[in-house]
Amino acid sequence: MKALLRRDLALALRAGGGFGLGLAFFLIVTVLVPFGVGPQSELLSRIAPGILWLGALLACLLSLDRLLALDWEDGTLDLLATSPLPLEAALLVKALAHWITTGLPLVLAAPLLGVLLNLPASGYLWLVVSLALGTPALSVIGTFGAALTVGVKRGGLLMSLLVLPLYVPTLIFGAEVARRGATGMATETPLLMLAGITLGVIALMPFASAAALRVNLR
Protein backbone atom coordinates (compact mmCIF):
# COMPACT_ATOMS: atom_id res chain seq x y z
CA MET A 1 0.00 0.00 0.00
CA LYS A 2 2.66 2.44 1.02
CA ALA A 3 4.73 1.34 -1.95
CA LEU A 4 1.82 2.01 -4.27
CA LEU A 5 1.19 5.45 -2.82
CA ARG A 6 4.85 6.34 -3.07
CA ARG A 7 5.07 5.12 -6.62
CA ASP A 8 1.96 6.99 -7.73
CA LEU A 9 3.21 10.19 -6.20
CA ALA A 10 6.63 9.74 -7.80
CA LEU A 11 5.03 9.13 -11.17
CA ALA A 12 2.77 12.15 -10.84
CA LEU A 13 5.77 14.29 -10.02
CA ARG A 14 7.82 12.96 -12.89
CA ALA A 15 5.60 11.98 -15.78
CA GLY A 16 4.50 15.06 -17.63
CA GLY A 17 4.03 16.92 -14.35
CA GLY A 18 0.70 15.59 -13.11
CA PHE A 19 1.32 17.72 -10.07
CA GLY A 20 1.11 21.24 -11.37
CA LEU A 21 -1.18 20.70 -14.28
CA GLY A 22 -4.48 20.40 -12.45
CA LEU A 23 -3.60 23.62 -10.77
CA ALA A 24 -2.68 25.30 -14.03
CA PHE A 25 -5.94 24.23 -15.59
CA PHE A 26 -7.84 25.61 -12.62
CA LEU A 27 -6.00 28.89 -13.01
CA ILE A 28 -6.68 29.12 -16.71
CA VAL A 29 -10.38 28.33 -16.45
CA THR A 30 -10.73 30.94 -13.75
CA VAL A 31 -8.89 33.43 -15.90
CA LEU A 32 -10.96 32.66 -18.98
CA VAL A 33 -14.26 33.27 -17.21
CA PRO A 34 -13.91 37.06 -17.21
CA PHE A 35 -13.07 36.92 -20.91
CA GLY A 36 -16.25 35.00 -21.55
CA VAL A 37 -18.57 36.77 -19.16
CA GLY A 38 -17.19 40.26 -19.42
CA PRO A 39 -15.23 42.29 -16.91
CA GLN A 40 -17.93 43.74 -14.62
CA SER A 41 -16.50 43.19 -11.15
CA GLU A 42 -19.82 43.17 -9.30
CA LEU A 43 -21.09 40.39 -11.54
CA LEU A 44 -17.87 38.43 -11.17
CA SER A 45 -17.92 38.63 -7.41
CA ARG A 46 -21.45 37.22 -7.36
CA ILE A 47 -20.53 34.21 -9.44
CA ALA A 48 -17.05 33.76 -7.95
CA PRO A 49 -17.74 30.95 -5.43
CA GLY A 50 -19.64 28.92 -7.99
CA ILE A 51 -17.07 29.38 -10.72
CA LEU A 52 -14.22 28.48 -8.40
CA TRP A 53 -15.96 25.28 -7.38
CA LEU A 54 -16.71 24.47 -10.99
CA GLY A 55 -13.14 25.15 -12.01
CA ALA A 56 -11.82 22.89 -9.28
CA LEU A 57 -14.24 20.19 -10.31
CA LEU A 58 -13.21 20.36 -13.95
CA ALA A 59 -9.51 20.37 -13.08
CA CYS A 60 -10.09 17.28 -10.98
CA LEU A 61 -12.01 15.63 -13.76
CA LEU A 62 -9.43 16.29 -16.40
CA SER A 63 -6.67 14.58 -14.50
CA LEU A 64 -8.76 11.50 -13.81
CA ASP A 65 -7.84 9.77 -17.03
CA ARG A 66 -4.28 9.36 -15.79
CA LEU A 67 -5.54 7.60 -12.73
CA LEU A 68 -5.91 4.08 -14.11
CA ALA A 69 -5.51 4.21 -17.88
CA LEU A 70 -1.72 4.31 -17.86
CA ASP A 71 -1.53 1.38 -15.48
CA TRP A 72 -4.00 -0.46 -17.65
CA GLU A 73 -2.06 0.03 -20.83
CA ASP A 74 1.24 -1.21 -19.57
CA GLY A 75 -0.25 -4.18 -17.76
CA THR A 76 0.32 -2.94 -14.22
CA LEU A 77 -3.33 -3.46 -13.33
CA ASP A 78 -3.20 -7.10 -14.44
CA LEU A 79 -0.24 -7.62 -12.19
CA LEU A 80 -1.76 -5.70 -9.27
CA ALA A 81 -4.90 -7.82 -9.57
CA THR A 82 -2.80 -10.97 -9.21
CA SER A 83 -0.82 -9.47 -6.32
CA PRO A 84 -1.54 -9.94 -2.61
CA LEU A 85 -3.00 -6.41 -2.31
CA PRO A 86 -6.84 -6.29 -2.24
CA LEU A 87 -8.06 -4.31 -5.21
CA GLU A 88 -10.34 -2.15 -3.06
CA ALA A 89 -7.38 -0.97 -1.02
CA ALA A 90 -5.30 -0.40 -4.10
CA LEU A 91 -8.02 1.80 -5.60
CA LEU A 92 -8.47 3.77 -2.41
CA VAL A 93 -4.74 4.39 -2.30
CA LYS A 94 -4.82 5.50 -5.90
CA ALA A 95 -7.67 7.89 -5.14
CA LEU A 96 -5.64 9.24 -2.23
CA ALA A 97 -2.64 9.78 -4.47
CA HIS A 98 -4.89 11.55 -6.94
CA TRP A 99 -6.24 13.80 -4.23
CA ILE A 100 -2.79 14.67 -2.96
CA THR A 101 -1.55 15.56 -6.40
CA THR A 102 -4.69 17.32 -7.63
CA GLY A 103 -7.25 18.12 -4.95
CA LEU A 104 -4.89 19.40 -2.29
CA PRO A 105 -3.11 21.91 -4.55
CA LEU A 106 -6.50 23.17 -5.68
CA VAL A 107 -7.61 23.75 -2.13
CA LEU A 108 -4.46 25.70 -1.39
CA ALA A 109 -4.64 27.75 -4.57
CA ALA A 110 -8.32 28.61 -4.44
CA PRO A 111 -7.97 31.73 -2.24
CA LEU A 112 -5.45 33.19 -4.65
CA LEU A 113 -7.77 32.71 -7.57
CA GLY A 114 -10.60 34.13 -5.48
CA VAL A 115 -8.76 37.44 -5.64
CA LEU A 116 -8.92 37.36 -9.43
CA LEU A 117 -12.69 37.03 -9.31
CA ASN A 118 -13.31 39.59 -6.53
CA LEU A 119 -14.52 37.03 -4.05
CA PRO A 120 -16.00 38.89 -1.02
CA ALA A 121 -13.67 38.82 1.98
CA SER A 122 -15.96 36.70 4.11
CA GLY A 123 -15.95 33.98 1.49
CA TYR A 124 -12.33 32.83 1.61
CA LEU A 125 -12.52 30.71 4.72
CA TRP A 126 -15.64 28.89 3.61
CA LEU A 127 -14.35 28.38 0.11
CA VAL A 128 -11.26 26.62 1.45
CA VAL A 129 -13.22 24.59 3.98
CA SER A 130 -15.76 23.44 1.45
CA LEU A 131 -13.11 22.51 -1.10
CA ALA A 132 -11.07 20.65 1.51
CA LEU A 133 -14.13 18.65 2.48
CA GLY A 134 -15.45 18.12 -1.01
CA THR A 135 -12.44 17.34 -3.20
CA PRO A 136 -11.73 13.94 -1.61
CA ALA A 137 -15.21 12.87 -2.68
CA LEU A 138 -14.43 14.07 -6.19
CA SER A 139 -11.30 11.91 -6.31
CA VAL A 140 -13.06 8.82 -5.02
CA ILE A 141 -16.06 9.18 -7.33
CA GLY A 142 -13.66 9.84 -10.16
CA THR A 143 -11.85 6.60 -9.45
CA PHE A 144 -15.13 4.82 -9.98
CA GLY A 145 -15.58 6.52 -13.34
CA ALA A 146 -12.03 5.65 -14.31
CA ALA A 147 -12.55 2.02 -13.33
CA LEU A 148 -15.70 1.84 -15.45
CA THR A 149 -14.07 3.21 -18.56
CA VAL A 150 -10.57 1.83 -18.24
CA GLY A 151 -10.98 -0.62 -21.10
CA VAL A 152 -12.17 2.05 -23.50
CA LYS A 153 -9.42 3.64 -25.55
CA ARG A 154 -9.19 7.35 -24.72
CA GLY A 155 -12.23 7.06 -22.56
CA GLY A 156 -11.62 10.55 -21.18
CA LEU A 157 -14.75 12.12 -22.53
CA LEU A 158 -16.95 9.13 -21.81
CA MET A 159 -15.66 9.17 -18.28
CA SER A 160 -16.59 12.83 -17.91
CA LEU A 161 -20.08 12.01 -19.07
CA LEU A 162 -20.42 9.28 -16.49
CA VAL A 163 -18.77 11.12 -13.64
CA LEU A 164 -20.23 14.60 -13.93
CA PRO A 165 -23.80 13.69 -12.94
CA LEU A 166 -22.33 11.83 -9.99
CA TYR A 167 -20.56 15.03 -8.99
CA VAL A 168 -23.83 16.97 -8.79
CA PRO A 169 -24.63 16.51 -5.08
CA THR A 170 -21.08 17.32 -4.03
CA LEU A 171 -21.04 20.39 -6.23
CA ILE A 172 -24.39 21.64 -5.01
CA PHE A 173 -23.56 21.40 -1.35
CA GLY A 174 -19.97 22.52 -1.78
CA ALA A 175 -20.87 25.59 -3.81
CA GLU A 176 -23.74 26.30 -1.45
CA VAL A 177 -21.36 26.40 1.50
CA ALA A 178 -19.01 28.70 -0.37
CA ARG A 179 -21.84 30.92 -1.58
CA ARG A 180 -23.52 31.20 1.82
CA GLY A 181 -20.14 31.86 3.35
CA ALA A 182 -19.51 34.66 0.88
CA THR A 183 -22.83 36.33 1.63
CA GLY A 184 -22.57 35.80 5.36
CA MET A 185 -25.37 33.28 5.76
CA ALA A 186 -25.41 30.17 7.95
CA THR A 187 -23.48 27.27 6.47
CA GLU A 188 -24.06 24.40 8.90
CA THR A 189 -26.62 22.38 6.98
CA PRO A 190 -24.87 22.17 3.60
CA LEU A 191 -21.56 21.67 5.36
CA LEU A 192 -22.93 18.68 7.22
CA MET A 193 -24.41 17.28 4.03
CA LEU A 194 -21.10 17.74 2.23
CA ALA A 195 -19.22 15.95 4.97
CA GLY A 196 -21.79 13.17 4.95
CA ILE A 197 -21.45 12.65 1.23
CA THR A 198 -17.67 12.56 1.42
CA LEU A 199 -17.65 10.02 4.24
CA GLY A 200 -20.27 7.82 2.63
CA VAL A 201 -18.50 7.88 -0.67
CA ILE A 202 -15.12 7.01 0.84
CA ALA A 203 -16.67 4.14 2.77
CA LEU A 204 -18.67 2.57 -0.06
CA MET A 205 -17.39 3.65 -3.44
CA PRO A 206 -14.14 1.63 -3.50
CA PHE A 207 -16.20 -1.56 -3.54
CA ALA A 208 -18.10 -0.44 -6.61
CA SER A 209 -14.86 0.68 -8.24
CA ALA A 210 -13.13 -2.62 -7.54
CA ALA A 211 -16.12 -4.53 -8.90
CA ALA A 212 -16.06 -2.50 -12.11
CA LEU A 213 -12.31 -2.90 -12.46
CA ARG A 214 -12.48 -6.65 -11.99
CA VAL A 215 -15.03 -6.89 -14.75
CA ASN A 216 -12.78 -4.85 -17.00
CA LEU A 217 -9.74 -6.96 -16.28
CA ARG A 218 -11.55 -10.14 -17.08
Binding site: F144, L148, T149, G151, V152, G155, L158, L161, L162, L164, P165, L166, V168, P169, I172, F173, E176, T189, P190, M193, I197, M205, A208, A211, A212, V215, N216, R218
Partner: protein, 255 residues
Protein backbone atom coordinates in the same frame (compact mmCIF):
# COMPACT_ATOMS: atom_id res chain seq x y z
CA UNK B 1 -35.50 -19.70 -40.48
CA UNK B 2 -36.04 -17.56 -37.48
CA UNK B 3 -34.95 -18.35 -34.01
CA UNK B 4 -38.44 -18.99 -32.92
CA UNK B 5 -38.91 -22.23 -34.77
CA UNK B 6 -35.48 -23.61 -34.04
CA UNK B 7 -36.40 -25.67 -31.07
CA UNK B 8 -39.71 -27.11 -29.96
CA UNK B 9 -41.32 -24.71 -27.58
CA UNK B 10 -42.95 -26.09 -24.48
CA UNK B 11 -46.56 -24.99 -24.20
CA UNK B 12 -46.36 -23.63 -20.71
CA UNK B 13 -43.02 -22.59 -19.31
CA UNK B 14 -42.65 -23.96 -15.84
CA UNK B 15 -41.76 -20.75 -14.05
CA UNK B 16 -41.28 -17.07 -14.58
CA UNK B 17 -37.54 -17.56 -14.89
CA UNK B 18 -37.84 -19.84 -17.86
CA UNK B 19 -38.66 -16.75 -19.91
CA UNK B 20 -35.07 -15.75 -19.27
CA UNK B 21 -34.16 -18.21 -21.99
CA UNK B 22 -33.81 -16.09 -25.14
CA UNK B 23 -35.61 -18.56 -27.36
CA UNK B 24 -38.58 -18.87 -25.04
CA UNK B 25 -38.60 -15.16 -24.55
CA UNK B 26 -38.75 -14.57 -28.30
CA UNK B 27 -41.56 -17.05 -28.73
CA UNK B 28 -43.50 -15.51 -25.88
CA UNK B 29 -43.01 -11.94 -27.00
CA UNK B 30 -43.92 -12.76 -30.60
CA UNK B 31 -47.17 -14.12 -29.30
CA UNK B 32 -48.20 -11.25 -27.06
CA UNK B 33 -46.83 -8.32 -29.03
CA UNK B 34 -49.55 -7.95 -31.67
CA UNK B 35 -52.19 -7.64 -28.95
CA UNK B 36 -50.02 -5.21 -27.03
CA UNK B 37 -49.45 -3.01 -30.07
CA UNK B 38 -53.19 -2.75 -30.59
CA UNK B 39 -53.94 -2.12 -26.95
CA UNK B 40 -51.30 0.54 -26.65
CA UNK B 41 -52.51 2.26 -29.79
CA UNK B 42 -56.12 2.20 -28.70
CA UNK B 43 -55.43 3.49 -25.21
CA UNK B 44 -53.25 6.29 -26.51
CA UNK B 45 -55.81 7.22 -29.11
CA UNK B 46 -58.74 7.16 -26.70
CA UNK B 47 -56.91 8.95 -23.93
CA UNK B 48 -55.47 11.68 -26.09
CA UNK B 49 -58.56 12.22 -28.25
CA UNK B 50 -60.76 12.30 -25.18
CA UNK B 51 -58.42 14.69 -23.47
CA UNK B 52 -57.85 16.89 -26.47
CA UNK B 53 -61.34 17.17 -27.88
CA UNK B 54 -63.77 16.41 -25.10
CA UNK B 55 -62.50 18.09 -21.98
CA UNK B 56 -63.21 21.68 -20.98
CA UNK B 57 -60.52 24.28 -20.39
CA UNK B 58 -59.27 24.79 -16.89
CA UNK B 59 -60.46 28.04 -15.33
CA UNK B 60 -56.93 29.20 -14.55
CA UNK B 61 -54.72 27.44 -17.06
CA UNK B 62 -57.02 27.73 -20.01
CA UNK B 63 -56.52 25.23 -22.79
CA UNK B 64 -52.91 24.52 -21.75
CA UNK B 65 -54.26 21.98 -19.32
CA UNK B 66 -54.52 19.66 -22.31
CA UNK B 67 -50.75 19.28 -22.24
CA UNK B 68 -51.14 17.27 -19.06
CA UNK B 69 -52.16 14.19 -21.10
CA UNK B 70 -48.68 14.04 -22.58
CA UNK B 71 -46.63 15.60 -19.84
CA UNK B 72 -47.62 13.53 -16.86
CA UNK B 73 -47.63 10.08 -18.52
CA UNK B 74 -44.25 10.67 -20.14
CA UNK B 75 -42.79 11.99 -16.88
CA UNK B 76 -44.12 8.93 -15.07
CA UNK B 77 -42.69 6.57 -17.65
CA UNK B 78 -39.33 8.33 -17.65
CA UNK B 79 -38.91 7.55 -13.97
CA UNK B 80 -40.38 4.07 -14.16
CA UNK B 81 -38.17 3.13 -17.10
CA UNK B 82 -35.12 3.83 -14.98
CA UNK B 83 -36.63 1.86 -12.16
CA UNK B 84 -37.25 -1.06 -14.49
CA UNK B 85 -33.63 -0.88 -15.66
CA UNK B 86 -32.53 -0.97 -12.05
CA UNK B 87 -34.52 -4.13 -11.40
CA UNK B 88 -33.30 -5.75 -14.62
CA UNK B 89 -29.71 -4.88 -13.73
CA UNK B 90 -30.11 -6.46 -10.33
CA UNK B 91 -31.50 -9.61 -11.91
CA UNK B 92 -28.55 -9.74 -14.28
CA UNK B 93 -26.05 -9.27 -11.47
CA UNK B 94 -27.65 -11.87 -9.24
CA UNK B 95 -28.98 -14.50 -11.64
CA UNK B 96 -27.11 -13.66 -14.83
CA UNK B 97 -30.04 -14.02 -17.18
CA UNK B 98 -29.03 -12.54 -20.50
CA UNK B 99 -32.54 -11.47 -21.37
CA UNK B 100 -32.75 -9.18 -18.37
CA UNK B 101 -29.49 -7.45 -19.22
CA UNK B 102 -30.67 -6.95 -22.77
CA UNK B 103 -34.05 -5.71 -21.56
CA UNK B 104 -32.28 -3.05 -19.53
CA UNK B 105 -30.33 -2.07 -22.61
CA UNK B 106 -33.50 -1.99 -24.67
CA UNK B 107 -35.38 0.17 -22.17
CA UNK B 108 -32.82 2.96 -21.96
CA UNK B 109 -33.53 4.67 -25.31
CA UNK B 110 -37.26 4.47 -24.64
CA UNK B 111 -36.62 6.08 -21.27
CA UNK B 112 -34.64 8.92 -22.83
CA UNK B 113 -37.37 9.68 -25.30
CA UNK B 114 -39.90 9.76 -22.47
CA UNK B 115 -37.65 12.10 -20.54
CA UNK B 116 -37.28 14.34 -23.55
CA UNK B 117 -41.03 14.43 -24.10
CA UNK B 118 -41.59 15.37 -20.47
CA UNK B 119 -38.95 18.07 -20.71
CA UNK B 120 -40.22 19.46 -23.99
CA UNK B 121 -43.89 19.51 -23.08
CA UNK B 122 -43.00 20.94 -19.69
CA UNK B 123 -40.94 23.67 -21.29
CA UNK B 124 -43.71 24.53 -23.71
CA UNK B 125 -46.17 24.55 -20.85
CA UNK B 126 -43.91 26.72 -18.76
CA UNK B 127 -43.83 29.49 -21.35
CA UNK B 128 -47.48 30.59 -20.84
CA UNK B 129 -47.74 29.53 -17.17
CA UNK B 130 -44.51 30.81 -15.68
CA UNK B 131 -43.42 33.14 -18.45
CA UNK B 132 -40.25 31.19 -19.08
CA UNK B 133 -39.24 28.08 -20.97
CA UNK B 134 -37.01 26.85 -18.26
CA UNK B 135 -36.56 27.45 -14.58
CA UNK B 136 -34.17 25.79 -12.20
CA UNK B 137 -37.00 24.25 -10.30
CA UNK B 138 -36.05 21.13 -8.32
CA UNK B 139 -38.34 18.81 -10.20
CA UNK B 140 -37.25 20.03 -13.58
CA UNK B 141 -33.64 20.00 -12.53
CA UNK B 142 -33.71 16.49 -11.23
CA UNK B 143 -35.29 15.46 -14.50
CA UNK B 144 -32.44 17.01 -16.37
CA UNK B 145 -30.03 15.02 -14.22
CA UNK B 146 -32.01 11.88 -14.94
CA UNK B 147 -31.58 12.68 -18.62
CA UNK B 148 -27.82 12.85 -18.09
CA UNK B 149 -27.80 9.50 -16.35
CA UNK B 150 -29.63 8.00 -19.29
CA UNK B 151 -27.10 9.47 -21.69
CA UNK B 152 -24.17 8.12 -19.71
CA UNK B 153 -25.77 4.71 -19.42
CA UNK B 154 -26.36 4.46 -23.15
CA UNK B 155 -22.91 5.78 -23.99
CA UNK B 156 -21.33 3.14 -21.76
CA UNK B 157 -23.26 0.37 -23.50
CA UNK B 158 -22.11 1.70 -26.85
CA UNK B 159 -18.49 2.09 -25.85
CA UNK B 160 -17.79 -1.42 -24.65
CA UNK B 161 -17.34 -4.20 -27.14
CA UNK B 162 -17.80 -7.36 -25.18
CA UNK B 163 -21.53 -7.65 -24.46
CA UNK B 164 -21.19 -9.39 -21.09
CA UNK B 165 -18.63 -6.89 -19.88
CA UNK B 166 -20.90 -4.09 -21.02
CA UNK B 167 -23.84 -5.66 -19.19
CA UNK B 168 -21.84 -5.94 -15.98
CA UNK B 169 -20.49 -2.42 -16.10
CA UNK B 170 -23.77 -0.78 -17.02
CA UNK B 171 -25.46 -2.68 -14.20
CA UNK B 172 -22.95 -1.34 -11.71
CA UNK B 173 -23.44 2.13 -13.16
CA UNK B 174 -27.21 1.77 -12.90
CA UNK B 175 -26.98 0.85 -9.21
CA UNK B 176 -24.56 3.61 -8.30
CA UNK B 177 -26.43 6.04 -10.52
CA UNK B 178 -29.72 5.33 -8.79
CA UNK B 179 -28.22 6.13 -5.42
CA UNK B 180 -26.80 9.37 -6.75
CA UNK B 181 -30.03 10.25 -8.55
CA UNK B 182 -31.90 10.09 -5.25
CA UNK B 183 -29.14 12.04 -3.56
CA UNK B 184 -29.27 14.71 -6.26
CA UNK B 185 -33.01 14.95 -5.84
CA UNK B 186 -32.56 15.95 -2.21
CA UNK B 187 -29.63 18.18 -2.99
CA UNK B 188 -31.59 19.99 -5.64
CA UNK B 189 -34.55 20.40 -3.32
CA UNK B 190 -32.32 21.96 -0.74
CA UNK B 191 -30.72 24.22 -3.30
CA UNK B 192 -33.84 25.79 -4.74
CA UNK B 193 -37.51 25.84 -3.81
CA UNK B 194 -39.13 26.18 -7.17
CA UNK B 195 -42.24 26.90 -9.13
CA UNK B 196 -43.35 23.46 -10.16
CA UNK B 197 -44.67 22.33 -6.83
CA UNK B 198 -47.26 25.05 -6.48
CA UNK B 199 -48.34 24.90 -10.06
CA UNK B 200 -48.76 21.15 -10.09
CA UNK B 201 -50.11 20.56 -6.59
CA UNK B 202 -53.20 22.54 -7.37
CA UNK B 203 -54.05 19.85 -9.87
CA UNK B 204 -52.54 16.99 -7.96
CA UNK B 205 -54.73 17.10 -4.91
CA UNK B 206 -57.80 14.97 -5.30
CA UNK B 207 -60.22 17.84 -4.90
CA UNK B 208 -58.48 19.88 -7.54
CA UNK B 209 -58.21 17.31 -10.25
CA UNK B 210 -61.70 17.33 -11.57
CA UNK B 211 -62.87 14.00 -12.88
CA UNK B 212 -63.16 15.49 -16.34
CA UNK B 213 -59.40 15.72 -16.44
CA UNK B 214 -58.69 12.69 -14.34
CA UNK B 215 -60.20 9.84 -16.36
CA UNK B 216 -58.77 10.67 -19.77
CA UNK B 217 -55.45 11.14 -17.99
CA UNK B 218 -55.68 7.65 -16.58
CA UNK B 219 -56.35 6.22 -20.03
CA UNK B 220 -53.43 8.14 -21.50
CA UNK B 221 -51.16 6.86 -18.73
CA UNK B 222 -52.27 3.31 -19.49
CA UNK B 223 -51.47 3.95 -23.14
CA UNK B 224 -47.95 5.13 -22.31
CA UNK B 225 -47.36 2.16 -20.03
CA UNK B 226 -48.48 -0.26 -22.74
CA UNK B 227 -46.42 1.51 -25.37
CA UNK B 228 -43.38 1.31 -23.15
CA UNK B 229 -43.98 -2.38 -22.55
CA UNK B 230 -44.37 -3.30 -26.18
CA UNK B 231 -41.40 -1.21 -27.24
CA UNK B 232 -39.20 -2.83 -24.62
CA UNK B 233 -40.36 -6.31 -25.62
CA UNK B 234 -39.71 -5.56 -29.26
CA UNK B 235 -36.33 -4.00 -28.66
CA UNK B 236 -35.27 -6.82 -26.37
CA UNK B 237 -36.09 -9.20 -29.19
CA UNK B 238 -33.94 -7.13 -31.51
CA UNK B 239 -31.05 -7.22 -29.05
CA UNK B 240 -31.38 -10.99 -28.74
CA UNK B 241 -31.26 -11.40 -32.49
CA UNK B 242 -28.24 -9.13 -32.78
CA UNK B 243 -26.51 -11.10 -30.09
CA UNK B 244 -27.28 -14.35 -31.84
CA UNK B 245 -26.04 -12.99 -35.15
CA UNK B 246 -22.86 -11.95 -33.47
CA UNK B 247 -22.40 -15.35 -31.86
CA UNK B 248 -22.94 -17.14 -35.16
CA UNK B 249 -20.56 -14.81 -36.94
CA UNK B 250 -17.87 -15.33 -34.34
CA UNK B 251 -18.07 -19.05 -34.99
CA UNK B 252 -18.28 -18.60 -38.73
CA UNK B 253 -15.01 -16.71 -38.67
CA UNK B 254 -13.20 -19.57 -37.02
CA UNK B 255 -14.12 -22.34 -39.40
Amino acid sequence: MSVTDQKPIPKRPSSFWSYANPVKFLAFSERVMPALWWLAGICLLVGLVWGFFFTPDDFRQGSTVKIIYLHVPSALMAINAWFMMLVASLIWIIRRHHVSALAAKAAAPVGVVMTVIALVTGAIWGQPMWGTWWAWDPRLTSFLILFLFYLGYIALWEAIEDPDTAADLTSVLCLVGSVFAVLSRYAVNFWNQGLHQGASLSLDKEENVADVFYFPLLVAIAGFVLLFLVLVLYRTGTEIRLRRTRALMAREART
